[in-house]
Symmetry: C2
Subunit: 446 residues, 2 copies
């Protein structure tokens, strides 16, 4: 059979690795796919730089004309690896309009413009494949879309940003603060020069928004996600969490609750003995809870050229197999048939039910604990565990002896917790700031 | 679109769960598959028992005529859940010859008669899907066949038998012996009345043989697998392993080495800090090492009605999508195109390179260690770690003081180890039996 001909937009880390993998493993790939897959054309910004990497070859047309590539009638598939949501969006839409299938690693693009892109693909009868957009080489998109298709999926919880997981591992293992750990991550290449998207949780939110849509058969709702990064996290809370049997991870969380969906990214306490708590460094892992399969976990490298290329090339093989098939034979991009998406709305964070970790700094005076527990009870928040210790923080000028008071709550609605925190803050015996972190026990409870 | 009509052979745990899941999740399933999937006919051995479970219904024809079911012209797919390799084989072959797709959870059938069954399916242009045959609800077949299709797979290591993993967890946690742990497993329903297939490693060998074929594009070679169960495992070795930083698991292992494949099942020491070592109780987990993706891990329930039904129904959805597609659009059953299978042979266990754990019981006399280390050196086996302790076993009548000597070796070929063990056994100062266990560090080394 004739080879499948593809064009590559961008020749950075992921583009180069994709090219390398298609060459290196071409024997195995064509033995699997039943035909070869070739990159025939590459469009880049800087011709000379790309040429230096690619070397002299007649087999690949290299130039800066991305517009021409997405219209090239000899190409079956366009691989988008340029990133961002502006030029990438235009080129992907143009490629789809030209009836080319698109394989992309661009989570931001699909999280923000997914509806438009999937509609365009559907209109022109072509596929958009995006395994590489979430959790790198872990085939989590395929798992959600096909592997667990028998299930009513209940929740997904994932460590889906390697940069922040590396930083949190460093903070815990070496007892260092956020800034020091970030610098180390940057020095070792685990964090970019501008780490904003990672440390603020935006990258993780892009990914959990995509998984949420796949799991629950709803449109991508990144705009409604609650997002909280790890910048404000204190080493002290990591220590206290450990003492109480928890580890702090930045998690992407999505859960079905009645007729709504929770969609949130924030630092979270999880039980130390759970496998997920033991995912360290830049690794990724996703836990999926289905009504039939129960709890399953998927673990691997979430970033880097080769792991991402593993996902891109798997998509290329899938598209190669199905590109002449009719729609009913293809797996719909969001797992559910396009005319069968529900309109489950996102539950506002104030309505989310969760267990909480609260750390207060209180004066060591009589009645302070009674006041605090009364406020919690008044707001319908019940206490699961309580830890009071001499404060490890330096005493502020003129202050009395102070204690750290750690409260672990049972399930409570976030707005109740917030109301309680407001009332506690007004107490003379409670010093600013109160720390609030959410807990996931990763079972039926919270 | 018209619903897909299936027939179910057998109505035990897996059959009943499959029926239940198709009913319970029919809304989500048809939103995913684009059409409904129904069980229209069930063939069982005992009509009355099945009727009691099924209840009165006109929607399903229930009888004992399996022959008629596999020939029924109104059915698109036959689901085989009767198990075994005799009647199941005949019925599956008959169904395929009648151009019905087959979905099966029967690992033994495919491990032993895979070649015949896949050839029959190919001849008649139908599919055989068997996600449920390996690791229950974990979609490991799809992951190997599609999710990691970009990779040259290097090795697979898995905890793929829940019964033995439960027994090993119990032995370690409670310091009990094999027989006691087995009784407990039987009482709790984790082991069958006749646990032979599980504890001898045969069930795990069926599964690793299937994964090996999928990973390396070779025929299923269960017959050549090396199989060693957990019956002979002493609690003492579990303790010593822990002291040395290892946990003992019954692993299925397959690895590509030059132009051969390792295929083996045996109790194995793995580093305690690896996620795989922390898979406890009846859970399953599979680690796959690919050249592109690196190391990935997949974890979940490996048995039970609902997890197995999760896999069966996922297969039904896949087959539903592709049943009118032509061969080139389908994923080949063994991941590689049928005419592209290699004939990589299995490496005999005597040729396998591994690290080893050896436990000897030696007289506490001068020169004993010198003799043993010389024998190892003479056989080209180098020592990684050594532990000598007063023996914890009761002294045999009339013996001197004895020590336990634990040797951890670097990589060595098994026949060299065996030669060394034979020479050691001949020493007057070494008491029978010497224990030999294999070690996997789950990285590039051993």
């Amino acid at each position: 059979m004739e080879t499948i001909k593809t064009g590559l937009l961008g020749f950075g880390t992921v583009g180069q690795s994709t090219f390398a993998v298609l060459q290196r493993n071409q024997g195995e790939i064509s033995r699997r796919a039943g035909r070869g897959i070739e990159i025939k054309r590459i469009a880049v910004r800087d011709n000379n730089k790309a040429r230096a990497v690619l070397g002299e070859t007649d087999a690949v047309l290299l130039d800066t004309d991305a517009e021409a590539l997405v219209c090239d009638p000899t190409l079956d598939i366009v691989i988008e690896t340029i990133g961002g949501t502006t030029i990438a969006r235009e080129l992907v839409l143009r490629a789809l309009a030209n009836r080319k299938h698109v394989v992309t690693a661009n989570k931001a693009l699909l999280a923000v413009h997914g509806a438009e892109i999937f509609a365009m693909a559907h209109k022109h009868g072509v596929m958009v494949a995006f395994e590489a957009a979430v959790a790198g080489g872990i085939p989590i998109i395929k798992i959600l879309r096909e592997g667990l298709s028998a299930n009513r999926i209940q929740w997904i919880v994932g460590i889906i940003n390697g940069t922040t997981n590396f930083i949190l591992s460093e903070m815990r293992e070496h007892g260092i603060d956020f800034e020091t750990a970030l610098e180390r991550a940057q020095r070792l290449g685990y964090a970019e020069a501008d780490p904003t998207m990672d440390i603020q949780g935006i990258d993780a939110a892009h990914k959990i928004a995509l998984m949420s849509a796949l799991a629950f058969g709803a449109p991508v709702q990144f705009d409604s996600a609650y997002i909280e990064g790890i910048k404000g996290l204190a080493p002290l809370d990591i220590q206290y969490a450990e003492e109480l049997g928890y580890r702090i991870k930045l998690l992407g969380i999505t859960r079905r609750v009645a007729d709504r969906i929770e969609l949130r990214v924030h630092p979270t306490l999880i039980p130390t003995q759970h496998l997920l708590a033991n995912v360290e460094g830049a690794m990724n892992a996703v836990v999926v809870q289905g009504d039939t399969v129960g709890s399953t976990l998927y673990y691997g490298k979430g970033a880097g050229g080769e792991p991402t290329a593993s996902a891109v090339v798997a998509d290329l093989i899938d598209v190669t197999r199905l590109h002449t098939a009719d729609q009913s034979q293809r797996v719909p991009p969001l797992a559910f048939q396009p005319d069968q998406l529900s309109n489950l709305a996102i539950l506002p964070i104030s309505e989310v039910r969760c267990c909480y970790y609260l750390r207060l700094r209180v004066m060591d005076v009589k009645g302070v604990l009674a006041n605090i527990t009364k406020i919690l009870a008044d707001n319908d928040v019940s206490i699961d565990a309580l830890l009071q210790k001499k404060s490890r923080l330096p005493d502020p000028v003129g202050a009395n002896e102070t204690d750290d008071l750690i409260v672990i709550t049972h399930l409570a609605v976030e707005k109740q917790i917030n109301a309680a925190l407001e009332q506690m803050s007004a107490l003379m015996t409670v010093m600013p700031q109160i720390t609030k972190l959410r807990i996931e026990t990763l079972n039926e409870g919270c």
